[in-house]
Structures are given as structure tokens and as C-alpha cells.
């Protein structure tokens, strides 16, 4: 199965953490060896082992977790004085450390992991030999025996990259990328200026030549010795011309280098699309089981790369579409039977490249969109007036309106009506578009089309009524010069144009933008340029006054003030320093279709995300918990111990805290005590998640006013339910 890239990612994190922890353990052991009687080292050892154990469980390495657990128990026994801190104990712990190192190395190199049973036995004996301790009966891992098989089965899956890798903060990379983009803009502008320079220079050379010819025959000029000056000028012009071509060739070299630099930098932002597939299939399984629906989720195609930035932004939308497909689309098994459909529903995911765009398709064989219900709801919400004739495709687009849901009751999964409009907005903001194909009773297909990267693009500069706009060239299917006569006829008749066997609605850009209704047809112009666009759900032919040219551009966002406006997809700077706005042709042309609507008065309410503070000393656990909760729309803060958590709480008050117990500097109890005694924070619910399950701890937690106590490793659904419950109470 393909759900393993997430696990791989996690394994990488864990391996890094484990190496650090083992280094720290080695250091402590070395210090201890010089001073065997000093007990201070045992708690340090114990804490590192504890963290290692937690991480090992998270990445499903029960053998490693078992060895760490036994060593931890050994340290506990040492601390309490149950066994003596002598050379034999020291040697045994060192043996354990060595074995763990081997284990980690094997895990990283994807080789067969060493056995641990012998050592685990020795540790157990050591703890019990001196004095019978209650730990004897505790079975740390019931998986020990079955774990024996585990190395072979998982070894194929875990392909850990062992190449040299440096970690760079993504911010820095982003910054470098932006600088490189700016560098490219400057280069493009420099090119324009150089072109202008060349024009002026040619003109100068021409004039000098004329002057030279005139003066050559002029006797007076010869008297005044102007001719020699002119000859000098001719020479200088030649030199200038030579210099110009030198600069031009240098600039083209530099252009090649900086473009390559730009491309390499873009490469660093690329990730495989299939890296999100495990996350999506997990959500599908989870939601399907919550809804008691049977579904077969298949990924038909997921090869290819996409900008990490884009992928990160679009994944929540894909999740939303999947939830929608399950909740609204796929029917319950019994209903499907009645409809003569296979009991198990189908949801397909496809990812593919289309020119400069990346496409993501989610399709289901569910009930499809009930257009009648959408139409009624649109009328009810005042978006559509009764009796207005509009096509099915126009009706479908109403589901993108804020607050639109045909559901009467709100379900847990979807149906709050904050969703499709958000999905649409996100896709638009990324410079893409979203299309729906739906057949009532048969299923729905959502197609998200996004630019493959947000960096450089080519834009077509067009003008209407003297105003210049940019249109991303990647969107343009073709450009045709059309006769004015034909244009007039088509505009009057409002008939579609047939081009390349497809029908296109002709629209004038000036009208679509509300500048001018018709082009100023002048007598000397026999034809006007028309741009053809193929969108997933409809086609449009856009008439403009003039095409000025095309230019490499870097699209910048217009800022938050424009967040409600979808007709501009961004802006860029022209060589003369003016701002050029880039139009979103899809929105512009669809806007005229929706002119009956008034502007929606208030900006879509953005639901406040509850903030969860995750306090744990293991980065593996922090990462797992963070990923999991972020999928469920929580905002996550993390802290590596109580001390760190205190400063985080001071900065931003979380809505709930997940708290580990064993941590360096300040443990969970100390932290909870501080929080519960501070009037500012005492209301924040705390869920304590720990391996310690003793009654004593539970009592202590209760006394401190800690709301919940959960065992590690937690069950995802249980944790989610607990968080929701506590937040509701709050």
C-alpha cells in the first residue's frame, strides 16, 4: 500500500531525534563511568530513554521501545537503590546503548535490525536479581514475539534517504527564491532598457551618417574642420554599438544563469504529490467509518511534482472535497443496493499535469448534485430571482456561494455551508480554478486546476480603452485576429463562435471589466485580437482592443485588501515601474454571468480555529500529534518542556493543553501547577498524556485540577473526542 510516505517522513524525524538522544545517553554514561556512585546521572538517563521509548512506539518499533523501556526500569531501580550502581550494571547499560545504536543504524540503512530479546532478558534479570521489585510483573510490550517477524516485512517499505542532507529553514529558502525572482525582474527590465538604448543608438548612428554625408561636400564645413569631428562621432558611434552588443551578450549569459538559478530554487520547493496520498486515504477511511459507509478509495494516478507551497495550501481543500463526497455523495450501503449500485461506493483521485498546470480530480459514483435543490436554495437565499433562466452549469456554481448548503441539518462531517466557497477562494488565490461535473444520481467530479508553481510566468499585455492589463499566457489557448464585421455580428446575435470544433462565448474585456460596453471600432482597423480560453467547465473568447506584447513576470499578490476580489489574480511591475494588474479571466467572464447578484455584504466569516498547545519532549510525538490535529482544523503550538510551554502560553493563550509528564527542566506536574494557579490561565483545560498510569499520578493530577488523564500512545479518535468535549465545556 502507498500509505507509507507519511511513515517514512516520520521515521526520518525519529531517526534524527534518536541519534541526538543516543549521543546524549553516551555522554551521560561516560560521565557516570568516572563517578560510579553519583546518582545524579540516572534521572538524565531515564529521561532520555523515556523519550526514545515514546518515539520508537510512534514509529512502530516495538523492539527498540522494549529495550528502552527495560533500560528505563533499570535506571529507576538504580535511582531507588534497589540495585547497586557498580561496574556490572554500568556494563549492562552500555551493552544496551550499543544495541540501540546498532538498531538505529540498521533502521537508517534499512537493514535487518539486531535482535534484542537476549538483552531485554538480562535487564529484567538484573532488576529482579537483587531484590524482587514490582516491575518484574510488568510486561512492557506484548508485541515482542510477533515483532520478530517485523523487520523483514517493513524493511522493504522504509526507504530512508541516506544521502548527505542539510536542513535549511524553509523561510530562508523562500527568501532566496524571492531574491532570485527579484533579480530576474530587474534583469527583464534591464533588457527592456537596453532595447530602448539600442533604438536610440541606431537613430543616432543614422543621423550622424546623414550629417557626415552632408558635410563631406560642404566647403564651409571643411574650413571649420567639422568634418573631422564628425568622423570622430562616427567612430564613437561604432564603439558604442560594439559595447552595446557586448553588454547584450553578457546580459543574455547572465539571463541564462539567473534563470537556471531560479529553476534550481524552484526545484527545492517541489514535492511529490503522492506524499499527501496517505493522509487523504486515512481521512477517507476515518470519515467513511464514522458515517457507516463503505467506500473504495483508489488513487488512479499520483505521480508528479508540485510546488510545496501550493500543495500545502490545497490539501485542506482536497480533504474537504473528500469529506463532501463521502457525506453528500456516496449513499448508505442499503440505499445503494436499492439503486442497483454496487454496495461499496467508489472515490477516485487523480493527479496529472496539463501544460503549465497541475490538475487534481476527485470523483465519486454517489448521488450527484441535486440541481433542483440548489436552485431552490439559491432563490431562498436571494441569489437568484424566481423565474430566471439559467443553465445547469450556472446553477451548480451557486454551491460556491458563502453560506450555501442544501442540507437542512448540520452534520459533523460537512454541511455547515462554510466549505465550498472557501475551497473555491483558496484555489483562486493560488491562481487556479475549480470545476464541477455532476450527474444527478450518477456521481460528481471536482477538478482543481492549479499552476504548477507560483514563481515565474509569462503574461500577455493587452489593452482596452487605453488601460493595460496582464493575462497569464499559460491560460491562453490561442490568439486569433477576427474581422470587425464578424465580431459585430457575433456580439449582436450573442451567438457562440465555433473554433477548433469547440463553442466559445465571445466577450469584450472592456465590458466584462465595466469600463466600456463595446470596442471603439475605428475605420482603419479591420480586425481585432481575440483570445481563446478553455476552462474545464466552459470556454470563452475574449475580445481586446490591442495586444501589446508578452513579458516574463513574477506575480505578486495584491495584498489583503483584495482578498474578496477574485477578478485580479495578482500584479507585477512593468519596466517603467508601473504596476500591471493580472486578470483572472475565469472570474471576469463568469462575473458578467452573475451580474444579477449583489455583492455579498460582509466578508465570509472565518471560523476561529481553536489553539492546542502540545507539550512533549519528544519531537516525534510533537510532530505526530501536530499533524493529526492540524488535519482536524486545530491550530497547533508546540513546546518541548514545561519551561518552554510557559513562555508559549505567555505569548498566546491556547484553548487547550496536551501535556506530557516526564520532561527536562520542568515536568508536566510542575507546569500544570503553575498554570492552574495563575488566574489568567487557570481556565485552560489540560489533558495529561503519559506512560505513567499509576494511581498516585492520577490522584496528583486530579488534585492539581487537571481535566483529563490519558495513556500513551493515545488513540486518535479518543483524543479528538476528549478535546472537543473539553472545548465545548469551556
Amino acid at each position: 500500500m502507498s500509505q507509507n510516505s507519511e511513515e517514512e517522513e516520520l521515521l526520518k524525524i525519529f531517526l534524527e531525534e534518536a541519534k541526538d538522544l543516543l549521543d546524549s545517553i553516551a555522554l551521560t554514561l561516560q560521565q557516570w563511568s568516572t563517578d560510579l556512585s553519583n546518582k545524579a546521572y540516572f534521572s538524565d538517563l531515564k529521561r532520555d530513554l523515556h523519550t526514545l521509548k515514546g518515539g520508537a512506539r510512534m514509529v512502530n518499533q516495538p523492539n527498540l521501545s522494549a529495550i528502552a523501556h527495560e533500560l528505563e526500569s533499570l535506571c529507576e531501580a538504580l535511582l531507588s537503590g534497589k540495585i547497586p550502581a557498580d561496574k556490572s550494571t554500568y556494563d549492562l547499560i552500555c551493552a544496551g546503548q550499543d544495541r540501540m545504536n546498532l538498531f538505529i543504524e540498521a533502521l537508517a540503512a534499512n537493514k535487518e535490525r539486531p535482535a534484542v530479546e537476549d538483552l531485554v532478558q538480562q535487564f529484567k534479570q538484573k532488576v529482579t536479581q537483587e531484590k524482587k521489585s514490582p516491575l518484574e510483573d510488568e510486561k512492557p510490550e506484548s508485541t515482542l514475539t510477533e515483532a520478530k517477524k517485523e523487520p523483514e516485512t517493513s524493511s522493504e517499505k522504509q526507504k530512508v534517504d541516506t544521502n548527505d542532507v542539510i536542513r535549511i529553514k524553509s523561510e530562508l529558502l523562500e527568501k532566496l527564491n524571492n531574491l532570485s525572482i527579484e533579480n530576474n525582474i530587474v534583469r527583464v527590465n534591464l533588457g527592456h532598457h537596453l532595447d530602448k538604448f539600442k533604438t536610440s543608438l541606431s537613430e543616432t548612428i543614422r543621423l550622424v551618417k546623414i550629417l557626415h554625408d552632408k558635410l563631406r561636400t560642404n566647403t564651409k564645413a571643411q574650413e571649420l574642420r567639422i568634418t573631422s569631428d564628425i568622423l570622430g562621432l562616427v567612430d564613437t558611434s561604432k564603439t558604442l554599438s560594439q559595447l552595446h552588443s557586448n553588454v547584450e551578450s553578457l546580459l543574455s549569459q547572465q539571463s541564462r544563469i539567473s534563470l537556471e538559478l531560479q529553476e534550481r530554487l524552484i526545484d527545492t520547493r517541489m514535492v511529490q504529490f503522492n506524499s499527501v496520498v496517505p493522509r487523504l486515504s486515512r481521512i477517507t477511511r476515518q470519515v467513511a467509518s464514522n458515517l457507516n459507509k463503505k467506500v473504495d478509495f483508489s488513487v488512479l494516478q499520483a505521480e508528479g511534482e508540485i510546488d510545496r507551497n501550493i500543495l500545502d495550501h490545497v490539501v485542506p481543500s482536497l480533504e474537504h472535497l473528500l469529506r463532501n463526497a463521502l457525506d453528500h455523495g456516496i449513499e448508505k450501503p442499503e440505499d445503494r443496493k436499492k439503486l442497483n449500485k454496487p454496495e461499496i461506493g467508489k472515490i477516485n483521485l487523480r493527479f496529472y499535469r496539463m501544460g503549465n498546470d497541475a490538475c487534481m480530480e476527485i470523483s465519486d459514483d454517489g448521488s450527484g448534485i441535486n440541481l433542483e435543490a440548489v436552485r431552490k436554495k439559491a432563490i431562498k437565499l436571494g441569489l437568484l430571482s424566481q423565474g430566471t433562466v439559467c443553465s445547469d452549469e450556472e446553477v451548480i456554481r451557486y454551491i460556491f456561494e458563502p453560506g450555501f448548503s442544501t442540507r437542512d441539518e448540520i452534520s459533523e462531517i460537512s454541511g455547515r455551508g462554510v466549505g465550498m466557497d472557501v475551497v473555491n477562494t483558496i484555489v483562486k488565490a493560488l491562481g487556479g480554478n475549480l470545476a464541477i461535473e455532476s450527474h444527478y444520481g450518477l456521481g460528481t467530479k471536482f477538478i482543481i486546476r492549479l499552476p504548477f508553481t507560483t514563481s515565474m510566468n509569462r503574461a500577455l499585455l493587452v489593452a482596452v480603452h487605453g488601460q493595460i492589463f496582464g493575462i497569464l499566457l499559460s491560460n491562453v489557448e490561442s490568439i486569433v485576429l477576427m474581422e470587425v464585421k464578424q465580431i459585430k455580428e457575433t456580439l449582436n446575435k450573442k451567438e457562440p463562435i465555433v473554433y477548433n470544433k469547440k463553442e466559445y462565448h465571445l466577450k469584450y474585456l472592456g465590458e466584462a471589466l465595466g469600463i466600456q460596453e463595446r470596442p471603439a471600432f475605428s475605420a482603419e482597423k479591420e480586425s481585432l485580437p481575440v483570445l481563446f480560453f478553455n476552462f474545464v467547465d466552459y470556454n470563452v473568447a475574449l475580445l481586446v482592443d490591442v495586444i501589446i506584447g508578452s513579458q516574463e513576470v513574477v506575480v505578486q499578490t495584491l495584498g489583503p485588501q483584495f482578498k474578496l476580489m477574485d477578478i485580479f489574480s495578482g500584479a507585477t511591475l512593468l519596466a517603467d515601474g508601473k504596476v500591471l494588474v493580472i486578470l483572472d479571466v475565469y472570474s471576469i467572464t463568469s462575473r458578467t454571468r452573475r451580474k444579477v447578484n449583489e455583492i455579498v455584504e460582509t466578508p465570509a466569516l472565518i471560523k476561529k480555529q481553536p489553539i492546542v498547545l502540545v507539550v512533549d519532549d519528544s519531537i516525534t510525538i510533537r510532530t505526530v500529534t501536530k499533524n493529526f490535529l492540524e488535519r482536524h482544523k486545530y491550530k497547533i503550538l508546540t513546546a518541548k518542556d514545561g519551561f518552554d510551554a510557559l513562555s508559549k502560553v505567555e505569548d498566546q493563550i491556547p484553548d487547550i493543553i496536551l501535556l506530557d509528564v516526564e520532561m527536562p527542566r520542568m515536568d508536566g506536574f510542575q507546569f500544570a501547577e503553575k498554570i492552574k494557579n495563575d488566574a489568567r490561565f487557570s481556565q485552560i483545560p489540560i489533558i495529561m498524556i503519559t506512560f505513567c498510569t499509576g494511581d498516585e499520578e492520577k490522584q496528583r493530577a486530579k488534585k492539581l485540577g487537571i481535566e483529563r488523564f490519558m495513556n500513551k500512545p493515545y488513540r486518535e479518535n479518543e483524543l479528538l473526542a476528549t478535546i472537543e468535549q473539553l472545548l465545548e465545556k469551556k
Binding site: 465595466g514 495584498g559 485588501q561 483584495f562 511591475l573 508601473k578
Partner: protein, 182 residues
């Protein structure tokens, strides 16, 4: 007199004729703001909010924009949206273009340009002079955006909080579907 004695002499005369350099004293009571005019009223806003003041820049107008949204300008590579403050608040545009300045307001690292009638300079007043908003009725439509005000030489001054302007809902409706305009 040798050179060394001359130097000593100069030092001595400097010490006797010393005048204290006026020290910049900003106390807790002080408040420094950029003063400007809008609709004929005087306003101030916190100095920290204003990153610079520009003359009328070269603008790219947007089609179908509201009358108060003047367009976007290139501020050293950064795209700056420009709103006419008076037109936004009172629906009346500025008349005298020569004095109009654009105040570049930086709020949480996001830049907005606001065109105002005239920028007057830096104004200093005391915190305890500040009057509550409800005593500033004559500032009419500006009231929702004020943080308070004070009086100087019989003239009222309003303290504008640009956060409030930027947070008002209509600020984000830059588009007007001008289907009726010529």
C-alpha cells in the same frame, strides 16, 4: 603663548561659556503623532504606524473600483494599494491635489496607502489631554475610526486608529459593479 597654552585657553573658555544642549525629553505623558488634515478637520495618528509620506505617486487604476480606491502604486518594488481616506469615510473626494499626500501605513507588516488632504507635521501632546470619543461629535463620520481626541488653541484634533479603518468591512469591497457609469 605656545600652542599647548592656546589649547588650554580654548578649553577653559569652552567650559565657562558652556550652554546646555536642549535634551529631547519624551516623558510618559507625551504622545507623538503625525498630524494631517482631512475634510478640513485636524487629525493625528501614532507615529509608529506611518512608515513614510509620499507625494501623489504614479498610479495604476483598477477597473470597476470604488471611487475611494485610487489604485495601486509601485513603492520601491512593493505594490501599494491607495485609498482616499476622505472619500472612504465621507464619500466626498479631495479637491486640491497639490497638497494631497499619501501616508504609507504599516500595520503588522502589511502596507496600505492613505491619501489625505495635507500632512501638517509632527504633533506632540499629553496623554492626560485626551478626551473620549463621544465628546468629538463634530468629527461626524470619522467617529468610528477615532481612538479619542484633544483640543489645541480651540481646535479639535481627532486621533485616528488606522487599525479600525483597515478592519472595517467595506474596506475590502474595492469593486463596485459600475454598470451604470458612463
Amino acid at each position: 603663548m605656545g600652542p599647548y597654552e592656546t589649547l588650554l585657553d580654548i578649553e577653559q573658555s569652552c567650559k565657562t561659556n558652556i550652554v546646555n544642549i536642549p535634551r529631547q525629553i519624551v516623558t510618559e505623558r507625551d504622545w507623538l503623532g503625525i498630524a494631517f488634515k482631512c475634510s478640513g478637520f485636524n487629525f493625528v495618528c501614532p507615529m509608529a504606524d506611518v512608515s513614510e509620506v509620499l507625494r501623489w505617486p504614479q498610479l495604476t487604476e483598477l477597473p470597476s473600483a470604488q471611487h475611494w480606491f485610487k489604485g495601486t502604486a509601485n513603492l520601491r518594488g512593493r505594490i501599494l494599494p491607495i485609498t482616499d481616506l476622505q472619500a472612504y469615510v465621507t464619500e466626498k473626494p479631495h479637491h486640491n491635489k497639490s497638497l494631497v499626500r499619501v501616508m504609507v501605513i504599516c500595520l503588522e507588516n502589511i502596507y496600505f496607502g492613505f491619501a489625505v488632504e495635507q500632512v501638517l507635521g509632527i504633533e506632540r501632546f499629553f496623554r492626560d489631554e485626551i478626551k473620549p470619543v463621544d465628546s468629538l461629535e463634530h468629527l461626524q463620520q470619522y467617529l468610528p475610526y477615532l481612538e479619542g481626541g484633544y483640543e489645541r488653541e480651540g481646535k479639535p484634533w481627532g486621533i485616528i486608529n488606522f487599525h479600525k479603518v483597515v478592519q472595517s468591512a467595506s474596506f475590502y469591497h474595492i469593486l463596485s459593479f459600475r454598470t451604470d457609469t458612463a
